[in-house]
Amino acid sequence: MSVLKTENITMKFGGLTAVKDFNLELNQNEIVALIGPNGAGKTTAFNMITGVYRPTTGSIIYNGQRIAGLKPDAITRLGLARTFQNIRLFKELSVLDNVFIANHLHLNSNIFEATFRLPRYRREKREKLQRSEFLIEKLGLKEFMNEKSSSLPYGLQRRLEIARALATDPKILLLDEPAAGMNPKETDDLTAFIKEIRDEFDLTIFMIEHHMHLVMGISDRIYVLDHGVTIAEGNPYEIQNDPRVIEAYLGVSEDAED
């Protein structure tokens, strides 16, 4: 069952076409990867789906609803949460607060109830604190709960970003290079971990990643972008043997061109 579908989304920045006619389809509980050389337009595609950019043309359909042009917060509220390529935590705030804030969008109490700690807010706060603590424990950050988030080591900051995204209670999780800066051991752990959260939280996962080992080991399907154009789509085996993909990544030798 398709949960997210993009139809020919195109993003132009002035004269530059960053992404051209991108057609993505995500099915329930799939893990799909988006790969491509640097500057291929992967993050731009991500930003269009999450509402940071409004596509120049094309439409994005999430569970039958058109979401292109909605603000990022509205899209997150519908159930698409993301992490960032360059970690964007709330640096000065504690690990717990980082995750707690991601629960804020589901708060029903108004600012008056919250300030004066009226019963509804107290009940909601208790629930959200419990959920935040549960997520922090789930991602193995329990001992750092009250530490400033910027004091965590790099790998744990990435985990915290995932915890924070999960706290918004998403249906689709978009990960922008989750393994960037991780060593091989950490990358292996991440592979298992992504599958685990997919099953536990009933997620569909769409990720940008450069670690081929991770991508090939985890993805159900892969899209390949080069210069904004989708050059291939398929399962890991098909992608690994696709001549256009090999060409985009490695280039072609002069002999082969003849």
Binding site: P72, D73, R82, K91, L93, I101, T168
Partner: protein, 351 residues
């Protein structure tokens, strides 16, 4: 909260009450006025810190909000006869001449009106960021001032309002300051306050976490303006006279100084800095007189205290980049931890 902390807090509140009582009944007018200013600047500082320090909006429109609050409170508390005396160039606009309200109501109306003005201008200007927001809000406060200078029949124009009933006393000003501190502390520690801080830390991430940037910015702006209006009302009543010249940019700058000195994003820091800024100018007054050091007599140079004051500010900014408190807050646990810490030499010997 631990029992010890509750006891310590109760004792402090009691001591503060005793102090206000003593000060109110036996201090001379000069000291009482400085103490009043300290409390009012606390209210104004906290209101600006919510917008600039906690939500990270670089707004410079504070004098405008204070003006709205000050004028509203003044017009609502002045008697019909006083108003008639004031408005001798042009008569006051009809419903205003008879409009009257008790001081508390007048303060709240002043705050609400100021909040309403913030809502009106917040809707367009809060779409701007950084320096652009600063310029737009600065322009707004100048517009308010110019409008107030020209609405002769409402604000009495450049003549200002005189003989405003001076209701502000230590109970009012410290009551307002305490109320503001409590509300701010509760707001900041609530889910909304945390959302404000998230916007300050990283707007893009906050938006991606489902926080409606515009709604939260407007909320912070409007609540800040409410307290600025209340502070302005208290100040007008304390001074007894207000005119548009009072609400120039320099006034906003004074409040900005308080929150930068205390720490952008610290309630404790704002309170401390409000007391320092409003009393330092007076405490350093001895520098203007000749000082006898025993072996040499330094002749008095008038204005020297301002030189020293500026130098002190520079030292603070140089050595405490984030203000006196940074984003830290006061807690009994920290104070007691600090008191119990043994000197380094003893710790070494003990081992």
């Amino acid at each position: 909260m631990k029992r010890r902390n509750i006891i310590l807090t109760s004792i402090s509140i009691l001591l503060l009450l005793v102090f206000i009582f003593v000060a109110d009944s036996s201090f001379d007018a000069y000291k009482v006025r400085i103490l009043n200013l300290c409390a009012i600047y606390t209210v104004l500082g906290l209101s600006m810190n919510l917008i600039n320090g906690f939500t990270g909006l670089f707004s410079l429109g504070h004098a405008g909000f204070m003006a709205v609050g000050a004028y509203t409170t003044a017009l609502l508390t002045m008697s019909a006869a006083t108003k008639q005396q004031n408005f001798f160039l042009a008569p006051i606009l009809p419903p205003l001449d008879r409009l009257n309200a008790p001081f508390l109501v007048a303060l709240l109306v002043g705050g609400l009106l100021s909040a309403f003005v913030a809502l009106l201008i917040g809707a367009p200007v809060l779409r701007l960021k950084g320096d652009y927001l600063a310029i737009a809000t600065l322009g707004f406060s100048e517009i308010i001032r110019i409008v107030f200078t020209n609405t002769q029949r409402i604000t009495n124009g450049a003549l200002g309002l005189k003989a405003i009933p001076s209701t502000t006393n230590l109970w009012w000003s410290y009551g307002a300051a305490a109320f503001t501190v409590v509300i701010m502390a509760l707001l900041i520690s609530s889910s909304y306050g945390k959302a404000f801080k998230a916007i300050r830390e990283d707007e893009i991430a906050a938006e991606s976490m489902g926080i409606n940037l515009f709604k939260h910015k407007v909320l912070s702006f409007v609540i800040g303006a409410f307290f600025a209006g209340v502070g302005g009302g208290l100040l007008g009543s304390l001074m007894g006279t207000i005119d548009p010249q009072m609400f120039k940019f320099a006034f906003t700058f004074n409040i900005l100084l308080i929150i930068v000195l205390g720490g952008m994003g610290s309630i404790t820091g704002t309170v401390i800095a409000a007391f320092i800024i409003s009393s330092a100018g007076e405490l350093l007054r001895f520098l203007d007189q000749s000082i006898n050091l025993g072996f040499v007599v330094i002749p008095g140079i008038s204005g020297l205290r301002m030189v020293v004051f500026s130098a002190l500010l520079m030292v603070v900014v140089l050595f405490f980049r984030n203000g006196l408190m940074g984003t830290n807050e006061f807690s009994w646990d920290k104070v007691i931890g600090l008191l119990q810490r043994r000197p380094l030499i003893k710790r070494r010997l003990g081992q």
